[in-house]
Symmetry: C2
Subunit: 335 residues, 2 copies
Amino acid sequence: MIIDCHGHYTTAPPALWEWRRRQVAGENPGPLRIPDDQIRESLEGAQLRLQRERGTDLTFFSPRAGSMEHHVGDAQVSAAWSRECNDLIHRVCRLYPQNFAPVCQLPQSPGVAPANCIPELERCVGGLGFIGCNLNPDPSGGWWTSPPLGDRWWYPLYEKLVELEVPAMVHVSSSCNPAFHFTGAHYINADTTAFMQFLSSDLFRDFPTLKFVIPHGGGAVPYHWGRYRGLAQDMQRPPLKELVLDNVFFDTCVYHRPGIELLLKVIPADNILFASEMVGAVRGVDPESGHYYDDTRRYVDAIDWLAAEDRDKIFHRNARRVYPRLLRNLSSPRL
Amino acid sequence: MIIDCHGHYTTAPPALWEWRRRQVAGENPGPLRIPDDQIRESLEGAQLRLQRERGTDLTFFSPRAGSMEHHVGDAQVSAAWSRECNDLIHRVCRLYPQNFAPVCQLPQSPGVAPANCIPELERCVGGLGFIGCNLNPDPSGGWWTSPPLGDRWWYPLYEKLVELEVPAMVHVSSSCNPAFHFTGAHYINADTTAFMQFLSSDLFRDFPTLKFVIPHGGGAVPYHWGRYRGLAQDMQRPPLKELVLDNVFFDTCVYHRPGIELLLKVIPADNILFASEMVGAVRGVDPESGHYYDDTRRYVDAIDWLAAEDRDKIFHRNARRVYPRLLRNLSSPRL
């Protein structure tokens, strides 16, 4: 079995984006009406087709990351938008319980305490069977005005995550800072930044069971693993293994084989979760290989020195361990 | 011969930092007085010893990056501080012309046009034999308030760099944004960000001979090379090879062997310049190898599939090509 822990509903029907346009324009968007058929249509030729073609089974599915836009409007706007997006994800997962497991967007807002997200998190996890959430370390959209993730500012939300046994994927949204291209710089920088915030803090001493997935292969971190080991040492912190590897996991959204090879060489197999982020940031076919850049399964499959046991961990065992609600909340016959 | 293209005067005598303290405090720091012996002492047990131990020959040497602090004070403060730092680098390189070649700090200041740096650049290059400069894409120190590097805001400075045949290393300074640890996040993010700014712009159509070195192994870029190739393709830009590889070079400041291997596998040898950044961000000895993390020569030496010709390019030929003033400005018998 292959679980893809990182997929967004990038192909949601136009009615969702029209609802959002109206909301942002200050018009009353009214109730969001999307028939089941439109949902099916939006997925059949995209994520579902790609699952079949690539031989992956279950995708952890969350609202489009670039559209979370926590920086747009205030906390009420963010709450209403998150609710619509999460409800739509819930519908997707009820229509295709074998193909998708739900991960929610949080109604963050710049300057607003993260504790404010707890009701929506509880609604999604407790009420609707969600198994994870996306946490934005920079709800300002590229201005990085929030305290680092190790700050107590975030603690009430972490307490709830621990209580609910829900991991968070660290995922920013679009960038309104012209310095940062969103998928080419902001996403990757956020991954790197979050890791360094974890390294510098005592977060996991305070929350030994809190779990984060850092997407996009961990940003720059595995490539600079020696740098991070050395920085931790210079800062007289414990070795990275003790400091973060019970709590931090990396996905495999790295779109070429040498990158995946480095990730698998450097990071213990226990800390890697298979993912592709399809249909996502990079949609083309690599003319050098003839395959989609984001067909990350091919890169993992091609690594012949990977032990069978480690492959199983990466493809599905770690995902079950990091997302314990997967088995509890869902009734997929494949699990 | 081995040229290390990336070293900072991190070990400068205390009088320099005391001068800076006074300047920032608004006191008159007076003339900076450092005897030659203090300069020798600051280098003999540090950079010079490490050059000898590691068998490297010449280091491109610039003021301490974290202390450029373009965000502190105004343009006058930045100009006076840059002048002192650059003069000290000039003295180092006159004392040890076989060991160091000078690279200058620019007197940038947030919101001030980069053209303002031209007089100091001309003084250093034309008057004092400097061969390169460090360009800070974020003089705000972590708030990223400047236009991207492809913006015309930067063009007058680029015109001068091209005229003088001087490359710029893209290098931020310390971070006053608590989200970004300076050497663990801000430096690496800046490298990634700058590359994506280049990828998104027509800068190198406008300046076909302008050259940038992206330090720290190019941030996250080589690890995510497939992502960047795919993003360029999705954006209908030319292939990266055509788009940036005549103008953009990566150094080897990656502090473990798998990272260096990835860099050398993915990036053409013509675009890689040897560097260690010693004495720099990571100063410890790796307990797993028994060697300094930043002894990057060991990682390059250990790669047995690297062709002798490519090794020569990485160790010194590319540096001579990218920094054409090296031969013109210096009279080192080794060159």
